[in-house]
């Protein structure tokens, strides 16, 4: 075990994957020589050569399109989109191509590729460095969608994603790259080295896609969340004294429905929390699904605490971000509903 930031854990996953399987290639904008603007691929080009890790022109469509072709050839590309906000030019290649290739060719061609991208706000990045577009992927059959919240999971899930035979969207909330940010932006950041989930095993291990993690056991209510908001929910629970069971979904599609339902049936109350825009966010799917399957166990309406239906504003970042106060108030409201 070594204490690692999430950036180091992601880098380490790359190293392990590239050493085990020479079909793994890594590329993206500023990913090669420099090692990525968030330094997640630092040293890979120097270690594995420019034919395994390289820079690309600024063309997200080209990055994913070329990766689809490489994957069809038999490689296992793991590519980086510099910010999730810049994935839109690649959306056609993701939705119409990577997601559908196996199905439309009846297994004749497949697209085992991983598309990593930093998501979420909290760094004063404004509307084009803060988005959480997970719902735009969960609606697309054929994609798996992963959101990580800590170094331990990040390494195990990234290795699982690269080894997976399907295209995996791998979302990295950049606000937790360096520590378990709990939404208290006014306080100094706690580094991962002070957190148990910052302890990362050396070498190879995977976390099965489609398995959630009970981040905090509890009996009052269930919080369904992922990414940065896992830590925010924990702060809200601690601060309100509400005994919340916090489930870190980790994989949104496929969803670990057993873990979700077991918890909601136990607590009878369910709060859904994410940073993305509320309307048609992934929280809507969670709410609809839980309601369909646990209706008679619900003691109160399922509540969503999400980003507002506006672009992510630069100056009003903390009014937009669903922080521990808002989440805590929602917990209290849910307990008295």
């Amino acid at each position: 075990m070594t204490a690692m930031t999430m950036i180091e854990a992601i880098r380490d996953a790359h190293v392990v994957a590239m050493e085990r399987d020479d079909r793994v290639v890594v590329f993206g904008e500023d990913v090669g020589y420099f090692g990525g603007v968030f330094r997640c691929t630092l040293g890979l080009q120097q270690r594995f050569g420019a034919h395994r890790c390289f820079d690309t022109p600024i063309s997200e469509a080209g990055i994913v399109g070329a990766a689809v072709g490489m994957a069809a050839y038999g490689l296992r590309p793991c590519v980086e989109i510099q910010f999730a906000d810049y994935m839109y030019p690649a959306y056609d290649q993701i939705v119409s191509e990577a997601a559908r290739l196996r199905h439309r060719s009846a297994g004749d061609f497949t697209a085992p590729l991983t598309i990593r991208m930093p998501t979420g706000g909290g760094i004063f990045g404004g509307q084009t460095h803060s988005q959480s577009p997970e719902a735009l992927f969960t609606h697309v059959a054929g994609l798996k969608t992963v959101v990580v919240s800590n170094p331990y999971d990040a390494k195990g899930l990234l290795l699982a994603a690269i080894e997976d035979d399907d295209p995996v969207i791998f979302l990295e909330p950049k606000r937790v790259y360096n520590g378990p940010f709990d939404g208290h932006h006014e306080r100094p950041i706690v580094p991962w080295s002070k957190h148990p989930l910052g302890e990362v095993p050396e070498g190879h291990y995977t976390i099965e896609l489609g398995t959630a993690r009970v981040h905090r056991a509890g009996s009052d209510l269930t919080v369904l969340t992922y990414g940065t908001l896992v830590h925010v929910a924990q702060a809200a629970a601690d601060e309100t004294g509400i005994d919340a069971e916090i489930i870190d979904l980790r994989t949104l599609v496929p969803l670990d429905l057993d873990t979700v339902l077991a918890s909601v049936i136990k607590t009878g109350r369910c709060l859904v929390v994410h940073e993305a825009t509320l309307t048609s966010g992934y929280g809507a799917e969670l709410s609809a699904t839980v309601q369909e399957r646990a209706f008679h166990h619900l003691e109160a309406p399922i509540t969503r605490v999400c980003g507002w239906d506006t672009p992510y504003p630069h100056a009003h970042e903390w009014a937009y971000f669903p922080g521990p106060d808002r989440v805590g108030r929602a917990m209290q409201a849910l307990m008295s509903a």
Partner: protein
Amino acid sequence: MRKPDLDEKVERIALMRKQLVRVLDDDGQAVGPWAPGLTPEQLVTGLRDMMLVRAFDARMLRAHRQGKISFYMQCLGEEAIACAQQRALRPGDMHFPTYRQQGLLIASGYPLVEMINQVLSNTHDPLKGRQLPVMYSSREHGFFSISGNLATQYVQAVGWAMASALRGGTAIASAWIGEGATSESDFHAALVFASTYQAPVILNIVNNHWAISTPEDFARGASATFADRGYGFSIPALRVDGNDYLAVYAVSQWAAQRARANLGPTMVEWVTLRVGAHSTSDDPSGYRTDEAARFPLGDPVDRLTRHLLVTGALDDARQQALADEVTRDVEAAFQEADSHGSVKGGVVISPKTMFDDVYAVLPRHLREQRDQVEG
């Protein structure tokens, strides 16, 4: 027109993108430095490939009129391009085609009956009824799964070629696009990546002068040719008579040799004409008069036939035998495929199979959905 060395500087090839590479002259003779020197047997094989494609298309159109299929796309008049390039490349190379390159599959020896199974969406359809007719896929025959979304395959081909190069392979990729679809963004991504990484890929543009109802001008803009696009990236670009089997063969071979010799991508604009409608859903009378009759490049099948007759590689009897043979082959394939049902006739494989292959392993939510479907 002159034939440049494989490694000739792109600037020296520049002007060729405004001219037209041609081998078969008006008298049916093969002339000039591009004449590929194919044997008479190879040429007859080429002719047979094209005749088979044409007979296949005709039979499918008949099936459409008979109400046996809902949709079809023919390549009438464009047969030489795909047929000759397939023969000029090697097994192991991968084509990334559009819906108008059935010639690639047929000239590769892919079974006609499999194609018709796909077109009928019957119980033997290799694509399990999932795709619109003509959207074939065959890895084994070097034919990448066709997408309904224009141009996406162009940059994928470049990626495939990069992968081959990265792995030290000798296989090359061949990307296909219609002139209309060159306006799409992925065309640009492909050129950027091909130019930057010097990928071993042939960048084919089939200029058949029409994109549904829209003349080629809208995609070409102020340029004189589509080959100009390649030149803007210093990708050697030729403009070739696409109705001349020999020219197509020679230029495809030249481009493939360049790719295999690690000399990078080559763009080829194949000048031809879409003689028929865009698809069976289209009626061109609303937007064009009958140009086919006066198209200067002629009919690729006629032109190769003439060459073979003139050079004595073919006589009338052999020609008739070939014609009978391809008709028979197509008909036999059609009868066999037809015996496996069709979506129009309501005989298809179990709808439960639609849940397969969405993922490598069926996840829970799809299992639950599948359980709700009968059949």
